[in-house]
């Protein structure tokens, strides 16, 4: 070794604000190339899935290959509707934040196929351990938007009594676990939930989500380790939307490998899927769910997608990425792709699409009106004395004294 000088590597994205957006480093394999393996395929036969990408929708909007879930047109239209409802909801709520009606909001724009297709591929009583960008799953489980809006407004119809930050929902009725403000913590919990299900010889499985940035947390590793050791019936998902607030995926280790590949070292299958391809997401999720439900063990899915909007209403992406980066994103828009596919099938038209769009806008507007009628930011959801409830199941003496001191 001639040169013995060590050098520190710092990952850097190829583009920054003011530069032309660039997606040339993203390799997108053609649709339909990877076969669909049996549910008990040994994990060392599945490396191509972790490093490649399962895609069903081709560039001409056809569905190709082994993974095509062959969903009927009604189901596809339902999926499209859920995605469009999610987007209408997001757009409307962002505006509410801008108008000072809520302190905070987070959109999932560009990631709608992930949530909707996954929710539809899972069973309604499977337990979801979502991140904060999974509102589309609640939409796909037909949970009333009004209820979500009331949580966002922390108004008297907020079931969480104003205790939680907007969008950190808890919807037991939809088997949607309480969202934590702490990243990653729910991943091992989902494994434990799934283990309890197996312990009880139940048939419900669990599914959990983290962003690609969050995969760096120890909780991610705990979840994969425990899931592998106890072969828990759980589907673990990484939404790789390329960003963790301002950090590009290279800061999370994306330069060296895919996030699906993390599974390999645990002896688990990892599958990377085109997250903007409704059919592919549905098929891969269904495969993983079937695998879990048939005691073949856990799966890690990487949903390869793009966070088209800001991280949250507290964020402005123009500070760290080219403004028009989304336009060069090679996997397109998930709603548009499913729409085109339906049109190609002869099951949808531009007119129907426009009509549906309008209908959903109206519906969301109606919902919003109803929700806002119960109050928006600043209204009291309930008596401040509830602030002392639910710390424990029963109010202990010291909290009783403090409540008294608070005079509430």
């Amino acid at each position: 070794m001639a040169d013995e000088t060590l050098r520190l590597h710092l990952p850097e994205p190829t583009t920054r604000p003011g530069m032309d957006p660039d997606a040339s480093m993203i390799k997108v394999p053609p649709a339909g190339t990877l076969p669909k393996p049996p549910l008990d395929e040994p994990d060392d036969k599945m490396w191509d899935y972790a490093l490649g990408m399962v895609r069903v929708l081709d560039d001409d909007h056809g569905a190709v290959g082994d993974w095509d879930p062959k969903l009927d047109a009604d189901t596809l239209r339902k999926g499209l509707t859920y995605m469009m409802r999610t987007r209408a909801f997001d757009d409307r709520m962002l505006r509410q934040q801008r108008q000072g009606k809520t302190s905070f909001y987070m959109k999932c724009t560009g990631e709608e196929a992930c949530g909707v297709a996954q929710a539809m591929a899972l069973r309604p009583d499977d337990m979801l351990f979502p991140s904060y960008r999974q509102q589309s799953m609640l939409v796909a489980r037909d949970w009333p938007l009004v209820d979500l809006m009331c949580q966002i407004f922390n108004n008297p119809k907020d079931r969480l009594q104003g205790k939680q930050l907007p969008v950190l929902y808890s919807v037991k009725g939809a088997n949607f676990f309480s969202i934590s403000g702490n990243l990653g913590t729910q991943f091992p919990q989902a494994v434990g939930w799934a283990m309890a299900s197996a312990y009880k010889n139940d048939s419900k499985i669990a599914a959990a989500w983290v962003g690609e940035g969050t995969t760096a947390e120890g909780d991610f590793h705990h979840a994969l380790t425990f899931a592998a050791v106890y072969q828990a019936p759980v589907v673990l998902n990484v939404t790789n939307n390329q960003y963790a607030i301002s950090s590009f995926s290279g800061i999370a280790g994306g330069e060296q490998s895919t996030f699906a590949a993390r599974a390999l070292g645990y002896g688990l299958p990892g599958i990377r899927v085109d997250g903007n391809d409704f059919l592919a997401v549905y098929a891969v999720t269904k495969w993983a769910a079937d695998r879990a439900r048939s005691n073949n063990g856990p799966t890690l899915i990487e949903l390869y997608t793009y966070r088209a909007a800001a991280h949250s209403t507290s964020d402005d992406p123009s500070g760290y990425r080219p403004k028009d980066e989304f336009t060069v994103w090679p996997l397109g828009d998930p709603i548009d792709r499913l729409k085109q596919h339906l049109i190609k099938l002869g099951e949808w038209s531009e007119e129907q699409h426009e009509a549906l769009h309008q209908e959903l806008e109206d519906e969301v507007k109606r919902d919003l009106k109803e929700a806002a009628s119960h109050g928006t930011l600043g209204v009291r959801p309930c008596s401040p004395s509830t602030m002392f409830d639910d710390v424990f199941k029963e109010l202990p003496p010291h909290l009783r004294r403090q409540r008294q001191e608070a005079g509430v």
Binding site: R159, S180, N182, P188, P396
Partner: protein
């Protein structure tokens, strides 16, 4: 009724609960086949099967993350953390998750988990097998914190912890696993078989959380303590002849303030003893509450006798340990004051 040491009493509590409730599950590092490094789970896997009592990977955060998920799915997990010093890798799961789940979901979800962990020093364990972190957890809203001082209490309290619908930390002072340590490491340890609290029913019973126990009534000074220190305080009271009223807290949170206040208002003096480091330890909280509720009854400043604000030094553990001599000096001093 059997004669049991603390280990057997804890084992008996787990045995009873495994038997009564199919939702009770026991796990942790080495707790399965082997029965735990302190033997608290010995025989349970054999009796109830590997699904009810099993080993986990070495990842305390993973253990409690899993436990929370199980708890949210209707089970009552009892997790062992091998030493209290190793709770810290699981700190986030405890503080941000177990403690907050019920609150943030406004009661939709909760995790009725029990975390058992041996704590305290005096076994030549050095700085990473001797810590007493209980005070930290009392600062975290949403957690209950318990520490028994004898086999009878250990069993009854542990059963209450397992049945409790809130997350509970159950600290086991390992120095008294085998006998009520009087604070003199150079004397023979009295076994629990010779102590009235070593008399433990084989069957199910429980002791409510949040109730302190007056171990010894007295009129001169209130001595507040828990765990190993209960026995050290008894020694010190005996040795000094000061008529101390010894209160064994048993539960730090929720705290039995009524018991404390009644006693201090009666005695006007107070010595607080714990093994944990002093600064911001639970003794500080006790003093804060006492001065709030007993200010006009106090005849002398309450005194803290605690571990020093250093790690537990291996070779000097008996200089670190708040033994009968230090407690005795405090008792004498608090009687001289004012």
């Amino acid at each position: 009724m059997s004669r049991m040491n603390m280990i057997q009493a804890i084992n008996s509590a787990l045995d009873n609960m495994l038997e009564r409730d199919p939702n009770v599950l026991i796990f942790g590092e080495d707790v399965g086949y082997f029965g735990g490094v302190f033997r608290c789970t010995a025989g349970l896997q054999e009796k109830y099967g590997v699904k009810r009592c099993f080993d986990t990977p070495i990842a305390e955060g993973g253990i409690l993350g899993m436990a929370i998920g199980m708890g949210a799915n209707g089970l009552r997990p009892v997790a062992e953390i091998q030493f209290a010093d190793y709770i810290y890798p699981a700190f986030d799961q405890l503080v941000s998750e177990a403690a907050r789940l019920r609150y943030r979901s406004a009661g939709e979800f909760w995790a009725p988990i029990t975390v058992r962990s041996p704590c305290g020093g005096g076994i030549y364990g050095g700085q990473t097998h001797s810590q007493s972190p209980e005070g930290i957890f009392t600062h975290v809203s949403g957690l209950k914190t318990v520490m028994p001082s004898n086999p009878y209490d250990a069993k009854g309290l542990l059963i209450s912890c397992i049945e409790d619908d809130d997350p509970v930390l159950f600290f086991e002072p390992k120095r008294i696993y085998n006998g009520p340590f009087d604070g003199y490491h150079d004397r023979a340890l009295q076994p629990w078989t010779q102590h009235p609290m070593g008399e433990v029913p084989d069957d199910y019973y429980s002791i409510p959380l949040g109730k302190a126990n007056i171990v010894r009534p007295g009129s001169d000074v209130t001595v507040i303590c828990y765990g190993t220190m209960v026995h050290v305080c008894e020694t010190a009271v005996k040795e000094t002849g000061v008529d101390g009223e010894i209160i064994d807290l048993r539960t730090m949170l929720p705290l039995d303030l009524d018991c404390i206040v009644a006693s201090v208002q009666k005695t006007g003096r107070c010595v607080i003893v714990h093994e944990a480091t002093r600064t911001s330890g639970f003794g500080a909280e006790l003093i804060a509450e006492i001065q709030e509720h007993c200010f006009y009854h106090l005849e002398a400043p309450p005194i803290r006798v605690t571990g020093w604000d250093t790690p537990y030094p291996h070779a000097f553990e008996w200089e670190y340990f708040p033994g009968p001599k230090r407690v005795g000096e405090a008792l004498t001093r608090v009687m001289e004051d004012a």
